[in-house]
Structure formats: structure tokens, C-alpha cells
Amino acid sequence: MKPLIQASAGSDMQRRGLLQSAHSLRWIIWGATALVMLVLPLVFSSGFAIALLSQIGIMIIFALSYNMLLGQTGMLSFGHAVYSGLGAFVAAHVLNQIGASHFPLPVSLLPLVGGFGGMLFGVLFGYVTTRKSGTTFAMITLGIGEMVAASSLMFPGFFGGEGGVPTNRTVGHAVLGITYVIALWCLVSMIAMYAWTQTPLGRIANAVRDNPERAEFVGYNTQRVRFLVMVLSAFFAGIAGGLSVIDFEIVTAENVGAAQSAGVLLATFIGGGAFFFGPVIGSVLFVLFAVALSNLTPAWLLYLGLFFVLVVMYVPGGVSSLLMKQVPLIAARKLHRMLPSYAAVLGAAMMVLCALVLTVELVYKLQIDSDNGTAMRLAGLSFDAASWAPRAVAAMLWVLGALASRLAAARLRDAWDRVQREIAGSNA
């Protein structure tokens, strides 16, 4: 067999060295993240931007907690909002108690209450949901989610009836203060959830994701693993819920509803579950989509759904996987070779997007909003939706867009193959 003593010592030291630099890299990344969080609210200081940043911060915690289930352990849940929402309700009640001076707790620590609230329900419901795995687990989470949402009217004391539970973040924080409270909790939660991925449970969760059967045969009760991950994930979801109480000062049945659960699923998946920063990217994209786009057009849900389906079909690893694919190119200094193809694909996509937006907005205007007349504005241009001109333009854009996409996709494939071959050749 191969003589190994020399080689192993050498590569062992090599590995030690790499670990050291990975360590310092980690500090740099976390430091940079903290810096970005500090600076962004100062740069984008309008009310709207601050609200957006706050929502993104909360969503990041929520999505990272969701990825503990999806990306780390392979558990697809359709009812994760149950834990963030119920945690929020608990936090809201406690906040009201704080406001009435019955409970001595600084408001900044409220998310912890939300966390423990979420964790409590994580234990309760998690016991039921983690009895099965895979698709059955997904269906059970759906059922539990519906059950909690439907029961919101049955416990008016806890859920506050139809109006929900309003609160007041009494201790007068200036609006900017709230944003930094959220940012701090976001940073702390991110670090905690990252640290978790480097623990025995975190690694075994990965093993359960990859091969639950084999995990059993190396001594692990996979059901117990999934249960524990669920509980921890519910804790962090509850923290997000507690923060939303501070941010919005109200909790309603919507917080536990199917829309919230679907939202975090979309955000996490679009960002990508395989890399830790995937859900972070996904949260940014999702909040921008949901909040900003919903102000621009009533058809935003259609666009979001379409975007999600396209990601599932063509980029199932999410945006983060796309970014990470560029890393070997950057290392081999060949990224610039792909840029023309990327530009071509982007251009074609823009054309198809314009065709889509025009068509959808036209149909929306004519079918749903025709009471107000058929005049409309789009991208600064006014036109009459009922006339033939916009339809002709849309049709033309579709045809051109389809052709352009075909060409651009083929060109992209060729360029990619060529660059990959060059890299493989230079590595051999």
C-alpha cells in the first residue's frame, strides 16, 4: 500500500494552516456583516427604507431558522410560521405585561421570550410532526399549520379574536433604535445558527439529510435528531416572531397563517439551502419582492409564484448556488470569459420579462380593473389597454424574447462547457 507517514504529516500541517486562515476569514466575514448592518440604516434612512431593512432583518432570522430544517436536515415544512407566530403571540402578551409594569424585562430582551414561546410549541407540535419524515412530514406540518390558524378564533384570550393582540413598545426607543435592536438580534442569531452547524448535532443533521438509514446504523435515532432540530429551529423562529412584535406592535392570526409559512419557504428556497448565506440572500430578495413589488402592481403574487416555479425548475440550488458556481471561475481567473454570455442571457430575460409584465398588466387592467376605464400607465408610458397597439407590442416582445432566449441559452451552454474544459485542462 502507499507509504503514508510523510504524506499525511505534510497534508495534515497543510490542513492546519488552511484551518487557521479559515478562522481569520470567518472573523473578517462576521465583522464585515456587522459593519454593513451598522451602516445601511444610516445610508438608506428614509422611513420606507428603514421599514424595509427591519423586515429584512427579521426575515433573515426566520429564513435561517427554516433552513436548519430544510437545507441542513432535509425536512420540508409547510407550517413553520406556527412557531414564529405563536412565539410572537407569547411575546405580545408579555410586552403588554411589561407595559403595565407587571413584568420587569427590558423590551430589547423580548425576542428571547418569543424564542422560548416558539420553542415550547416546537416541543409540543414537534413531537407529533417528527414522527414521520419526508413527504408525510410535510403534509403533517401543513395540517398543523391549518389547525393553528383555524383555532385562532377559538381562543380569543390568547389570539385576541379577529383584531389580534395590539401592543406598545413602551420604553421610548427612537425608530432608529428599533432598527438596531433588530440588527443586533439578527447578528447574534446568525452567529448562533452558524455555530450550530459546526456542532455534533449539526453535522449529524446533515448525515440524516443525506442518508437517514445509514445514520441509524451508526447509532443515531433519526427521529430524535429531527425532533431536536425542530425544537431549536422553533426557538429561532420565535425570536423572529418576538422581533416582529417590537417592529409592528401587533400580532394577528395572519402571523401563523399559510401565507407566512409559504413566504419563508420561498425566501429560503430562492436563496438556496446548501450554503449558510443562501437564506440571507433569499430574505433580501423576498422582502423586496413582497413589499416593494406589492406596492407597484396588484399582480405581484403571480410574478412571485412564477419566479419561484422557474427557480425550482432551472436553479433548484437557489441564487447562492449560482454565485458559488462562479467561485472556481474566479479562482482560475476565467470569469470574464463568461460575462458576454451572461449579458446575452440577461438581455433575453429582460425581453421576456417585459413581454410578461405587459401581458399580465394588460389582462389585469381589462379583467379586474376595467371599472376605472382602460387607460393605464406602465414604466412611465401611458396607453389605452383596450387598443390593439399594446397587444401587438406584447406579442412582438414574446416572439423576440423566445428567440433571443433560445440563442442566448445555447451560447451560454457552449461558453460554460468551454470554460469548464479549460479549467479542467489546466488542473490536470
Binding site: 500500500m1 502507499k2 503514508l4 504524506a7 499525511s8 497534508s11 495534515d12 490542513r15 484551518l19 455555530a195 450550530w196 459546526q198 456542532t199 455534533p200 448535532l201 449539526g202 453535522r203 449529524i204 446533515n206 448525515a207 439529510r209 443525506d210 442518508n211 438509514e213 445509514r214 445514520a215 441509524e216 446504523f217 451508526v218 447509532g219 443515531y220 435515532n221 433519526t222 430524535r224 435528531v225 431536536l228 431549536l232
Partner: protein, 255 residues
């Protein structure tokens, strides 16, 4: 002296078909035992019954004198039995090193801890590195397990099986699909890693069997028709009939 593994009148039915029809096995501590038989005899099913993948319909399976019939696989593994799979069953999105580290975590007592930092667990790291060396995959330390060659995956398969330090090792066709030289390497590896342990092996390759086994059991149609030393098995008439006089007389494998 208690045998390491004891099967008494073990039967297994799937619907109306009885696959295992009364298997009796007695394997001593430290013994290297081979389980051979024609295709469809029920060798893998027997392994599944022992390791907890399925439960026996009747009969007893005892590990070191303790009844393990019907227990889930993780409980049996914690009691000191570990098995490999005929179809490679690894953690394909983890690196080779992580695969091995996952295999030692429970045995080292870390259980479901989320307060230890993996990097700082020296014993887990050293143990995994040791097994990595033993199976000869140091050069693949950080390679994703799914990207290994077939033979490398088979080596990793064995590595995962023995990493936890189980006393009783079950290997299910460890050399399946290997070339002659790869098989020889594998036999060397198996001999190295099972020193002082009890080994039960399902194999088709007779040279591997005769090279490693202290005793051989022959399984035909769900029953053990003979258990004896390799030489005796070679000369056993009913065994020869079961194999229709084919492989037993040839020294080399037929793959």
C-alpha cells in the same frame, strides 16, 4: 462461553412467502465467519434481520447473549454491532472525513450535543483520521463522498462500518463489483480492520471467502444447510449440489 451472535430458528415472512425458513447460526467471539449461498438464498435478508433493518417473524437473534430481535437499528448498533451495505450507503454530500467523523460521534459519547464545537473534539478528529488512514483514503480527506470512485466508496463503506469500534462487524458483499486487484486490496483491508473483532461476511467471491473465513455457513432457500471449516465445506456433497457443481472447485473468483 456466550457466542457473539446466535440465531435460533429465525423465520421471516413477506406476505405469504417465507423467505427465511428457520436459520440457525452460532458465531463465536473473534471468529471470521462467511455466509455463502446461491442468489436469492436470503443472505442479505438474514443480515437485515440481524442488524435491525427488518424484524424476524419468529425465532430469536441474540447479540452477546442479549435478545435483539425487533430492536431498531440504532439500538443494535449501540450494543456493539455494525454493518456495511451491498449497495453503497454513504453520506454523499459530506466529505470523506466528515463521513467518518459522523460514524464515531455516538460511540465517543457526544450524542445529540449542540454545545460542543466539532473542531475542538480532538478524539473524534483523531479517530476519524486513524480510520481514514486505515482504509487508505487520506488523499481524499475533503472530497465529497458522492464524487469518489466505486472502489473508494466501497472502502469508505467499510470505514464507516468499523469507525464506531463495534465488536461485531457484518460486511455485505464488500468486494461486489471489484476487479481482481481491487478485491485483493479489499481483503487486506478487511483483514486489517477486523483484528480481534467478530466478522460475519456475505460473499460470492470464493477466493475471498477461503482466504478470510475461519468457518463458512451455506444458506440455501432460507435455510443453513451446512456450517463447517472451509475445507469441509469444499468437500460437502449437498453444498456442491446446491451450487450445481460450479464455483467451489475454482480457486479464482468468477467476476
Amino acid at each position: 462461553m456466550t457466542s457473539a451472535l446466535e440465531l435460533r430458528e429465525v423465520r421471516k415472512q413477506f406476505g405469504r412467502t417465507e423467505i427465511i425458513r428457520g436459520v440457525n447460526l452460532d458465531i463465536a467471539k473473534g471468529e471470521r465467519h462467511a455466509l455463502i449461498g446461491p442468489n436469492g438464498a436470503g443472505k442479505s435478508t438474514t443480515f437485515n434481520l440481524i442488524s435491525g433493518r427488518i424484524a424476524p417473524s419468529s425465532g430469536t437473534v441474540k447479540l452477546n447473549g442479549v435478545d435483539i430481535g425487533g430492536l431498531p437499528p440504532y439500538k443494535i448498533n449501540r450494543m456493539g454491532l455494525s454493518r456495511s451495505f451491498q449497495v453503497t450507503n454513504i453520506f454523499h454530500r459530506l466529505s470523506v472525513f466528515e463521513n467518518l467523523r459522523c460514524s464515531v460521534l455516538w460511540a465517543l459519547g457526544y450524542r445529540y450535543s449542540f454545545w460542543h464545537r466539532l473542531e475542538q473534539l480532538r478524539d473524534a478528529r483523531e479517530r476519524a483520521e486513524a480510520v481514514l488512514e486505515l482504509i487508505g483514503l487520506q488523499g481524499r480527506h475533503d472530497t465529497l463522498a458522492g464524487l469518489l470512485t466505486y472502489a473508494e466508496q466501497r472502502a469508505l463503506e467499510i470505514g464507516i462500518t468499523i469507525a464506531g469500534g463495534a465488536e461485531v462487524i457484518l460486511l455485505d458483499e464488500p468486494t461486489a463489483g471489484m476487479s481482481r486487484s481491487e478485491s485483493d486490496h479489499a481483503v487486506e483491508l478487511i483483514r486489517r480492520v477486523t483484528v480481534g473483532k467478530t466478522l460475519v461476511m456475505v460473499e460470492h467471491d470464493m477466493s475471498v471467502v477461503f482466504g478470510l473465513a475461519d468457518r463458512i455457513s451455506v444458506l440455501v432457500y432460507g435455510e443453513v444447510i451446512a456450517t463447517d471449516t472451509p475445507q469441509a465445506i469444499r468437500n460437502n456433497r449437498s453444498v456442491k449440489e446446491a451450487y450445481l457443481g460450479s464455483t467451489l472447485d475454482e480457486p479464482a473468483g468468477t467476476h
